[in-house]
Amino acid sequence: MSGPLISIVVQGAHRVMQPGDLLSGQLQIDSVGPDEVQSVEVSVLWYTEGKGDEDLGVSHFRRYTPEDGSEIPLCELRDFSTTLPNSPLSYDGLILKIRWCVRVRVFLPRGRQAVAEQAFQLGNVPGAVVTIPT
Protein backbone atom coordinates (compact mmCIF):
# COMPACT_ATOMS: atom_id res chain seq x y z
CA MET A 1 0.00 0.00 0.00
CA SER A 2 1.53 3.35 -0.98
CA GLY A 3 2.12 6.09 1.54
CA PRO A 4 0.10 9.26 2.03
CA LEU A 5 0.18 12.00 -0.59
CA ILE A 6 1.30 15.26 1.03
CA SER A 7 0.60 18.50 -0.81
CA ILE A 8 2.33 21.69 0.26
CA VAL A 9 1.56 25.03 -1.37
CA VAL A 10 3.72 28.00 -0.36
CA GLN A 11 2.46 31.42 -1.43
CA GLY A 12 5.07 33.08 -3.57
CA ALA A 13 7.51 30.13 -3.50
CA HIS A 14 8.59 31.05 -7.03
CA ARG A 15 9.99 34.39 -5.85
CA VAL A 16 12.78 35.20 -3.47
CA MET A 17 11.60 35.72 0.09
CA GLN A 18 13.19 38.36 2.28
CA PRO A 19 13.80 38.47 6.03
CA GLY A 20 10.69 39.74 7.76
CA ASP A 21 8.37 38.55 4.98
CA LEU A 22 5.27 36.60 5.94
CA LEU A 23 5.54 33.03 4.64
CA SER A 24 2.13 31.43 4.32
CA GLY A 25 0.67 28.41 2.62
CA GLN A 26 -1.54 25.37 2.86
CA LEU A 27 -0.96 21.68 3.31
CA GLN A 28 -3.16 18.68 2.73
CA ILE A 29 -2.72 14.96 3.20
CA ASP A 30 -4.44 12.57 0.80
CA SER A 31 -4.52 8.81 0.14
CA VAL A 32 -4.74 8.00 3.83
CA GLY A 33 -7.63 7.37 6.19
CA PRO A 34 -8.28 10.04 8.86
CA ASP A 35 -7.83 7.41 11.60
CA GLU A 36 -4.40 6.48 10.27
CA VAL A 37 -2.80 9.86 10.86
CA GLN A 38 -1.50 9.99 14.43
CA SER A 39 0.05 13.45 14.19
CA VAL A 40 1.30 16.01 11.69
CA GLU A 41 4.29 18.31 12.12
CA VAL A 42 4.79 21.43 10.03
CA SER A 43 8.22 23.08 10.16
CA VAL A 44 9.83 26.03 8.45
CA LEU A 45 13.50 25.26 8.72
CA TRP A 46 16.96 25.67 7.26
CA TYR A 47 19.48 22.89 6.81
CA THR A 48 23.01 22.58 5.49
CA GLU A 49 24.25 20.47 2.62
CA GLY A 50 27.72 19.79 1.37
CA LYS A 51 30.90 18.37 2.76
CA GLY A 52 30.06 18.75 6.44
CA ASP A 53 27.51 16.85 8.49
CA GLU A 54 24.02 18.22 8.31
CA ASP A 55 22.98 21.02 10.63
CA LEU A 56 19.37 22.01 11.03
CA GLY A 57 17.58 24.98 12.57
CA VAL A 58 13.86 25.47 12.97
CA SER A 59 12.24 28.85 12.54
CA HIS A 60 8.64 27.72 12.92
CA PHE A 61 7.31 24.44 14.30
CA ARG A 62 3.76 23.26 14.87
CA ARG A 63 2.56 19.80 15.82
CA TYR A 64 -1.04 18.76 15.22
CA THR A 65 -2.55 15.81 17.07
CA PRO A 66 -6.15 14.56 17.44
CA GLU A 67 -6.03 15.66 21.07
CA ASP A 68 -5.62 19.32 20.05
CA GLY A 69 -9.40 19.71 20.05
CA SER A 70 -9.41 21.13 16.53
CA GLU A 71 -12.51 20.40 14.46
CA ILE A 72 -10.39 20.05 11.31
CA PRO A 73 -9.28 16.45 10.70
CA LEU A 74 -5.52 16.10 10.50
CA CYS A 75 -5.49 15.24 6.81
CA GLU A 76 -7.75 18.09 5.70
CA LEU A 77 -6.57 21.33 4.12
CA ARG A 78 -4.79 23.43 6.73
CA ASP A 79 -3.18 26.89 6.65
CA PHE A 80 0.16 27.82 8.11
CA SER A 81 2.06 31.10 8.31
CA THR A 82 5.15 32.50 9.94
CA THR A 83 7.41 35.54 9.76
CA LEU A 84 10.78 34.69 8.29
CA PRO A 85 13.85 35.49 10.42
CA ASN A 86 16.82 37.70 9.51
CA SER A 87 19.20 34.78 9.14
CA PRO A 88 20.63 32.50 7.97
CA LEU A 89 20.13 33.41 4.32
CA SER A 90 20.04 30.81 1.57
CA TYR A 91 23.58 30.21 0.35
CA ASP A 92 25.24 28.22 -2.39
CA GLY A 93 28.89 27.87 -1.42
CA LEU A 94 31.84 25.74 -2.35
CA ILE A 95 31.62 23.07 0.36
CA LEU A 96 28.61 24.41 2.24
CA LYS A 97 25.06 25.14 1.13
CA ILE A 98 22.22 26.52 3.22
CA ARG A 99 18.70 25.63 2.14
CA TRP A 100 15.29 26.73 3.44
CA CYS A 101 12.12 24.68 3.14
CA VAL A 102 8.70 23.96 4.55
CA ARG A 103 8.69 20.37 5.76
CA VAL A 104 5.62 18.32 6.63
CA ARG A 105 6.03 15.08 8.54
CA VAL A 106 3.11 12.71 8.97
CA PHE A 107 3.22 10.06 11.70
CA LEU A 108 1.37 6.83 10.87
CA PRO A 109 0.75 3.65 12.83
CA ARG A 110 3.51 1.11 13.53
CA GLY A 111 6.23 3.79 13.58
CA ARG A 112 5.87 4.72 9.92
CA GLN A 113 6.41 8.29 8.80
CA ALA A 114 5.97 10.22 5.57
CA VAL A 115 7.83 13.43 4.80
CA ALA A 116 7.43 16.06 2.10
CA GLU A 117 9.05 19.44 1.71
CA GLN A 118 8.78 22.53 -0.42
CA ALA A 119 11.93 24.58 -0.86
CA PHE A 120 12.13 28.35 -1.08
CA GLN A 121 14.91 30.92 -1.18
CA LEU A 122 15.53 33.42 1.61
CA GLY A 123 17.62 36.41 0.65
CA ASN A 124 19.57 37.39 -2.45
CA VAL A 125 23.06 36.15 -1.67
CA PRO A 126 24.68 35.17 -4.98
CA GLY A 127 26.39 31.82 -5.32
CA ALA A 128 29.96 31.68 -4.10
CA VAL A 129 32.63 32.21 -6.71
CA VAL A 130 36.23 31.91 -5.57
CA THR A 131 37.85 35.35 -5.70
CA ILE A 132 41.51 34.95 -4.87
CA PRO A 133 43.90 37.28 -6.65
CA THR A 134 46.77 35.48 -8.39
Binding site: V16, M17, Q18, P19, E41, S43, L45, W46, T48, G50, K51, G52, D53, E54, D55, L56, G57, V58, S59, F61, R63, P85, N86, S87, P88, L89, Y91, G93, L94, I95, L96, I98, R103, R105, F107, G111, Q113, L122, G123, N124, V125, P126, A128, V130, T131, I132, P133
Partner: protein, 342 residues
Protein backbone atom coordinates in the same frame (compact mmCIF):
# COMPACT_ATOMS: atom_id res chain seq x y z
CA UNK B 1 6.02 -4.40 0.13
CA UNK B 2 7.71 -5.70 3.29
CA UNK B 3 11.37 -4.91 3.55
CA UNK B 4 13.77 -7.75 4.12
CA UNK B 5 16.06 -7.48 7.11
CA UNK B 6 19.59 -6.61 6.07
CA UNK B 7 22.64 -7.48 8.09
CA UNK B 8 24.40 -4.38 6.85
CA UNK B 9 23.29 -0.88 6.06
CA UNK B 10 24.37 1.20 3.12
CA UNK B 11 24.28 4.97 2.88
CA UNK B 12 22.95 6.41 -0.35
CA UNK B 13 23.19 10.17 -0.27
CA UNK B 14 21.00 11.26 2.63
CA UNK B 15 19.22 7.92 2.89
CA UNK B 16 20.12 4.71 4.62
CA UNK B 17 18.86 1.29 3.62
CA UNK B 18 18.66 0.02 7.21
CA UNK B 19 15.70 0.40 9.50
CA UNK B 20 15.80 3.49 11.68
CA UNK B 21 13.42 1.87 14.16
CA UNK B 22 15.66 -1.19 14.48
CA UNK B 23 18.69 1.06 14.95
CA UNK B 24 17.02 2.99 17.76
CA UNK B 25 15.85 -0.21 19.40
CA UNK B 26 19.36 -1.62 19.23
CA UNK B 27 20.78 1.59 20.70
CA UNK B 28 18.26 1.49 23.57
CA UNK B 29 19.03 -2.19 24.18
CA UNK B 30 22.77 -1.50 24.34
CA UNK B 31 22.28 1.40 26.75
CA UNK B 32 19.95 -0.69 28.88
CA UNK B 33 22.51 -3.49 29.03
CA UNK B 34 25.24 -1.07 30.16
CA UNK B 35 22.91 0.33 32.79
CA UNK B 36 22.03 -3.16 34.04
CA UNK B 37 25.70 -4.16 34.25
CA UNK B 38 26.48 -0.99 36.16
CA UNK B 39 23.60 -1.40 38.62
CA UNK B 40 24.46 -5.06 39.23
CA UNK B 41 28.08 -4.05 39.76
CA UNK B 42 27.15 -1.32 42.26
CA UNK B 43 24.83 -3.61 44.23
CA UNK B 44 27.36 -6.47 44.25
CA UNK B 45 30.18 -4.24 45.40
CA UNK B 46 28.07 -2.68 48.10
CA UNK B 47 26.80 -5.97 49.48
CA UNK B 48 29.97 -8.10 49.21
CA UNK B 49 32.81 -5.59 49.64
CA UNK B 50 32.02 -2.09 50.74
CA UNK B 51 29.46 -2.41 53.50
CA UNK B 52 31.29 -5.26 55.31
CA UNK B 53 34.67 -3.50 55.12
CA UNK B 54 34.11 0.24 55.05
CA UNK B 55 34.75 0.72 58.76
CA UNK B 56 38.14 -0.96 58.48
CA UNK B 57 39.10 0.71 55.23
CA UNK B 58 37.56 4.07 54.31
CA UNK B 59 39.08 3.97 50.80
CA UNK B 60 37.05 0.89 49.83
CA UNK B 61 34.33 3.29 48.56
CA UNK B 62 36.64 4.07 45.64
CA UNK B 63 35.68 0.69 44.19
CA UNK B 64 32.42 2.31 43.12
CA UNK B 65 34.41 4.20 40.48
CA UNK B 66 34.43 0.99 38.44
CA UNK B 67 30.68 0.38 37.89
CA UNK B 68 29.54 4.04 38.11
CA UNK B 69 30.63 4.92 34.53
CA UNK B 70 28.49 2.02 33.26
CA UNK B 71 25.51 3.43 35.16
CA UNK B 72 26.01 6.98 33.89
CA UNK B 73 26.71 6.04 30.25
CA UNK B 74 23.97 3.41 30.13
CA UNK B 75 21.44 5.59 31.95
CA UNK B 76 22.21 8.63 29.85
CA UNK B 77 22.01 6.63 26.63
CA UNK B 78 18.71 5.05 27.64
CA UNK B 79 17.18 8.42 28.52
CA UNK B 80 18.40 9.84 25.22
CA UNK B 81 16.94 6.89 23.29
CA UNK B 82 13.56 7.27 25.02
CA UNK B 83 13.48 11.04 24.38
CA UNK B 84 14.35 10.53 20.71
CA UNK B 85 11.85 7.69 20.24
CA UNK B 86 9.33 8.79 17.68
CA UNK B 87 10.65 12.36 17.95
CA UNK B 88 11.57 14.01 14.69
CA UNK B 89 14.74 16.04 14.19
CA UNK B 90 12.58 19.11 13.60
CA UNK B 91 10.81 18.68 16.94
CA UNK B 92 14.12 18.20 18.77
CA UNK B 93 15.52 21.31 17.10
CA UNK B 94 12.41 23.28 18.08
CA UNK B 95 12.78 22.15 21.70
CA UNK B 96 16.44 23.17 21.73
CA UNK B 97 15.53 26.55 20.26
CA UNK B 98 12.84 27.09 22.87
CA UNK B 99 15.24 26.16 25.66
CA UNK B 100 17.91 28.54 24.38
CA UNK B 101 15.40 31.41 24.32
CA UNK B 102 14.83 31.14 28.07
CA UNK B 103 15.72 34.36 29.81
CA UNK B 104 18.68 33.27 31.94
CA UNK B 105 20.49 31.73 28.97
CA UNK B 106 19.71 34.28 26.30
CA UNK B 107 22.68 36.56 26.95
CA UNK B 108 25.16 33.71 26.98
CA UNK B 109 23.81 32.05 23.82
CA UNK B 110 26.30 31.68 21.02
CA UNK B 111 24.08 33.52 18.54
CA UNK B 112 21.87 36.57 19.09
CA UNK B 113 18.10 36.09 19.03
CA UNK B 114 17.59 38.58 16.17
CA UNK B 115 20.14 36.88 13.92
CA UNK B 116 19.95 33.11 14.37
CA UNK B 117 23.06 31.17 13.36
CA UNK B 118 25.17 34.37 13.21
CA UNK B 119 27.94 34.51 15.83
CA UNK B 120 27.70 37.15 18.53
CA UNK B 121 29.70 40.29 17.86
CA UNK B 122 29.97 41.23 21.53
CA UNK B 123 33.09 39.10 22.00
CA UNK B 124 34.87 41.23 19.39
CA UNK B 125 33.66 44.64 20.57
CA UNK B 126 34.60 44.54 24.24
CA UNK B 127 37.97 46.21 23.62
CA UNK B 128 37.85 49.91 22.68
CA UNK B 129 40.46 51.29 20.31
CA UNK B 130 42.73 54.27 20.90
CA UNK B 131 41.83 56.09 17.66
CA UNK B 132 38.90 54.10 16.22
CA UNK B 133 35.93 52.55 17.95
CA UNK B 134 37.11 48.98 18.47
CA UNK B 135 40.35 47.05 18.69
CA UNK B 136 39.96 43.63 17.16
CA UNK B 137 41.20 40.56 19.06
CA UNK B 138 43.77 38.34 17.42
CA UNK B 139 43.46 34.60 16.91
CA UNK B 140 46.93 33.31 17.49
CA UNK B 141 47.65 29.77 16.47
CA UNK B 142 51.35 30.41 17.15
CA UNK B 143 50.59 30.70 20.89
CA UNK B 144 49.12 27.21 20.96
CA UNK B 145 52.02 25.85 18.91
CA UNK B 146 54.45 27.42 21.36
CA UNK B 147 52.55 25.96 24.31
CA UNK B 148 52.67 22.54 22.67
CA UNK B 149 56.39 22.83 22.00
CA UNK B 150 57.13 23.86 25.58
CA UNK B 151 55.08 20.98 26.96
CA UNK B 152 56.76 18.46 24.66
CA UNK B 153 60.20 19.79 25.48
CA UNK B 154 59.60 19.61 29.22
CA UNK B 155 58.15 16.11 29.14
CA UNK B 156 60.79 14.68 26.77
CA UNK B 157 63.79 16.22 28.46
CA UNK B 158 62.37 15.46 31.86
CA UNK B 159 62.19 11.75 31.05
CA UNK B 160 65.61 11.76 29.40
CA UNK B 161 67.04 13.57 32.43
CA UNK B 162 65.56 10.95 34.73
CA UNK B 163 67.23 8.13 32.83
CA UNK B 164 70.48 10.12 32.73
CA UNK B 165 70.41 10.26 36.51
CA UNK B 166 69.92 6.48 36.66
CA UNK B 167 72.79 5.92 34.22
CA UNK B 168 75.08 8.28 36.12
CA UNK B 169 74.30 6.67 39.48
CA UNK B 170 75.07 3.22 38.07
CA UNK B 171 78.37 4.49 36.66
CA UNK B 172 79.31 6.01 40.01
CA UNK B 173 78.43 2.82 41.88
CA UNK B 174 80.73 0.83 39.61
CA UNK B 175 77.95 -1.04 37.75
CA UNK B 176 77.50 0.83 34.47
CA UNK B 177 74.73 -0.22 32.12
CA UNK B 178 76.31 0.31 28.69
CA UNK B 179 73.14 -0.64 26.80
CA UNK B 180 71.28 2.13 28.59
CA UNK B 181 74.08 4.54 27.71
CA UNK B 182 73.91 3.60 24.04
CA UNK B 183 70.10 3.87 23.87
CA UNK B 184 70.12 7.20 25.69
CA UNK B 185 72.40 8.92 23.16
CA UNK B 186 69.83 9.45 20.36
CA UNK B 187 67.14 10.44 22.88
CA UNK B 188 69.52 12.97 24.42
CA UNK B 189 70.46 14.40 21.02
CA UNK B 190 66.79 14.73 20.08
CA UNK B 191 66.08 16.45 23.38
CA UNK B 192 68.86 18.97 22.76
CA UNK B 193 67.49 19.62 19.28
CA UNK B 194 64.00 20.14 20.78
CA UNK B 195 65.43 22.79 23.13
CA UNK B 196 67.13 24.54 20.22
CA UNK B 197 63.90 24.45 18.17
CA UNK B 198 61.93 25.80 21.13
CA UNK B 199 64.30 28.71 21.65
CA UNK B 200 64.13 29.49 17.92
CA UNK B 201 60.33 29.35 18.01
CA UNK B 202 60.18 31.69 21.02
CA UNK B 203 62.40 34.18 19.23
CA UNK B 204 60.32 33.97 16.04
CA UNK B 205 57.05 34.42 17.93
CA UNK B 206 58.13 37.28 20.17
CA UNK B 207 60.76 38.93 18.02
CA UNK B 208 58.41 40.28 15.35
CA UNK B 209 56.45 42.42 17.78
CA UNK B 210 52.70 42.74 18.30
CA UNK B 211 50.27 43.65 15.54
CA UNK B 212 46.96 45.31 16.26
CA UNK B 213 44.02 46.44 14.19
CA UNK B 214 41.36 48.99 15.01
CA UNK B 215 38.08 49.44 13.15
CA UNK B 216 35.51 52.21 13.05
CA UNK B 217 32.45 50.01 13.51
CA UNK B 218 31.47 46.41 14.17
CA UNK B 219 29.69 44.16 13.24
CA UNK B 220 30.11 44.66 9.54
CA UNK B 221 27.47 44.77 6.81
CA UNK B 222 27.88 43.91 3.12
CA UNK B 223 28.15 46.92 0.82
CA UNK B 224 29.46 49.29 3.52
CA UNK B 225 32.91 50.81 4.02
CA UNK B 226 34.80 51.03 7.30
CA UNK B 227 37.90 52.84 8.43
CA UNK B 228 40.74 50.56 9.46
CA UNK B 229 43.94 51.30 11.39
CA UNK B 230 46.76 48.75 11.11
CA UNK B 231 49.71 48.95 13.53
CA UNK B 232 52.89 46.91 13.66
CA UNK B 233 55.55 47.33 16.34
CA UNK B 234 58.97 45.81 16.94
CA UNK B 235 62.42 46.32 15.41
CA UNK B 236 62.01 45.16 11.84
CA UNK B 237 62.91 45.83 8.25
CA UNK B 238 59.73 44.75 6.55
CA UNK B 239 59.96 43.94 2.88
CA UNK B 240 56.20 43.51 2.46
CA UNK B 241 53.11 43.85 4.63
CA UNK B 242 49.74 42.77 3.22
CA UNK B 243 46.30 43.17 4.75
CA UNK B 244 43.53 41.03 3.26
CA UNK B 245 39.85 40.42 3.91
CA UNK B 246 39.29 36.66 3.83
CA UNK B 247 36.15 34.53 3.88
CA UNK B 248 36.43 30.83 4.69
CA UNK B 249 33.94 27.99 4.61
CA UNK B 250 34.58 25.36 7.26
CA UNK B 251 32.85 21.97 7.28
CA UNK B 252 33.31 19.14 9.78
CA UNK B 253 32.20 15.59 9.08
CA UNK B 254 32.47 12.17 10.63
CA UNK B 255 34.45 9.52 8.80
CA UNK B 256 34.18 6.34 10.83
CA UNK B 257 35.26 7.31 14.32
CA UNK B 258 37.28 10.30 13.11
CA UNK B 259 36.06 13.86 12.79
CA UNK B 260 37.61 15.63 9.84
CA UNK B 261 37.45 19.28 8.95
CA UNK B 262 37.74 20.82 5.52
CA UNK B 263 38.37 24.51 4.98
CA UNK B 264 37.92 26.34 1.70
CA UNK B 265 38.72 29.98 0.94
CA UNK B 266 35.83 31.68 -0.82
CA UNK B 267 37.04 35.24 -0.94
CA UNK B 268 40.43 36.89 -0.48
CA UNK B 269 40.21 40.64 -1.06
CA UNK B 270 43.33 42.82 -0.81
CA UNK B 271 42.88 45.77 1.54
CA UNK B 272 46.36 47.25 2.01
CA UNK B 273 49.88 46.62 0.78
CA UNK B 274 53.00 48.31 2.13
CA UNK B 275 56.60 47.70 1.16
CA UNK B 276 60.06 48.53 2.49
CA UNK B 277 59.15 49.60 6.02
CA UNK B 278 61.65 50.39 8.76
CA UNK B 279 59.97 49.78 12.11
CA UNK B 280 61.54 50.49 15.48
CA UNK B 281 60.15 50.66 19.00
CA UNK B 282 60.15 54.47 18.98
CA UNK B 283 58.24 54.61 15.68
CA UNK B 284 55.81 51.72 15.21
CA UNK B 285 54.19 51.42 11.81
CA UNK B 286 50.65 52.84 11.58
CA UNK B 287 48.51 53.06 8.47
CA UNK B 288 44.86 53.92 7.95
CA UNK B 289 42.86 52.55 5.05
CA UNK B 290 39.32 51.79 3.93
CA UNK B 291 37.80 48.34 4.27
CA UNK B 292 34.88 47.62 1.95
CA UNK B 293 32.74 44.56 2.48
CA UNK B 294 31.59 43.26 -0.93
CA UNK B 295 27.92 43.88 -1.54
CA UNK B 296 26.01 40.62 -1.76
CA UNK B 297 28.57 38.89 0.47
CA UNK B 298 27.29 36.06 2.62
CA UNK B 299 27.06 36.85 6.32
CA UNK B 300 29.00 35.03 9.03
CA UNK B 301 27.43 31.70 9.92
CA UNK B 302 27.98 29.29 12.74
CA UNK B 303 26.37 25.93 13.38
CA UNK B 304 27.56 22.71 14.97
CA UNK B 305 29.34 21.30 11.93
CA UNK B 306 29.51 24.17 9.46
CA UNK B 307 30.82 27.73 9.56
CA UNK B 308 31.38 30.77 7.38
CA UNK B 309 34.10 32.92 8.90
CA UNK B 310 35.36 36.34 7.91
CA UNK B 311 38.69 37.70 9.09
CA UNK B 312 41.36 40.27 8.41
CA UNK B 313 44.63 38.56 7.58
CA UNK B 314 47.93 40.38 7.98
CA UNK B 315 50.91 38.75 6.27
CA UNK B 316 54.40 40.12 6.65
CA UNK B 317 57.82 39.34 5.33
CA UNK B 318 60.66 40.85 7.39
CA UNK B 319 64.42 40.59 6.93
CA UNK B 320 66.02 38.03 9.23
CA UNK B 321 62.67 36.62 10.38
CA UNK B 322 60.41 33.92 8.96
CA UNK B 323 57.18 35.18 7.31
CA UNK B 324 54.47 35.89 9.88
CA UNK B 325 50.68 35.80 9.68
CA UNK B 326 48.24 37.38 12.11
CA UNK B 327 44.48 36.82 11.88
CA UNK B 328 41.76 39.10 13.27
CA UNK B 329 38.23 37.63 13.08
CA UNK B 330 35.30 39.90 12.19
CA UNK B 331 31.55 39.28 12.08
CA UNK B 332 29.49 40.16 9.02
CA UNK B 333 25.77 40.53 9.60
CA UNK B 334 23.16 40.17 6.84
CA UNK B 335 21.88 43.36 5.30
CA UNK B 336 18.33 44.26 6.30
CA UNK B 337 17.29 43.69 2.69
CA UNK B 338 18.51 40.08 2.89
CA UNK B 339 21.66 40.28 0.82
CA UNK B 340 20.59 42.82 -1.74
CA UNK B 341 22.54 46.06 -1.31
CA UNK B 342 20.43 49.15 -1.69
Amino acid sequence: MARWFRFYGKKRGHRRTGSEQAARAGEALWSGTLLLVGVVGVVTLLVWWILPQWQADRWVWLLLLVPLPFVSIGGGGLIRSLLHWQTSTERRAALVKRASELGPFEESAATPKDFPAVPRASNLTNSPGTRLSYRLPITSRSSWKLFGSVTFCLVWNGLVGLFLVFAASWHLSGNPDWWLDVVLVPFLLFGLWAIYALVRQVMDTTGVGPTWVEISDHPLTPGRSYELLVCQSGRLSVRRLDVKLVCLERASYHQGTDVRTEIRTVCEQPVLRCEDLEINPAHPFEQSCQLEIPSGAMHSFHSEFNEINWSLLIEGDAEGWPPFTRSFPVIVYPTPSGGRHR
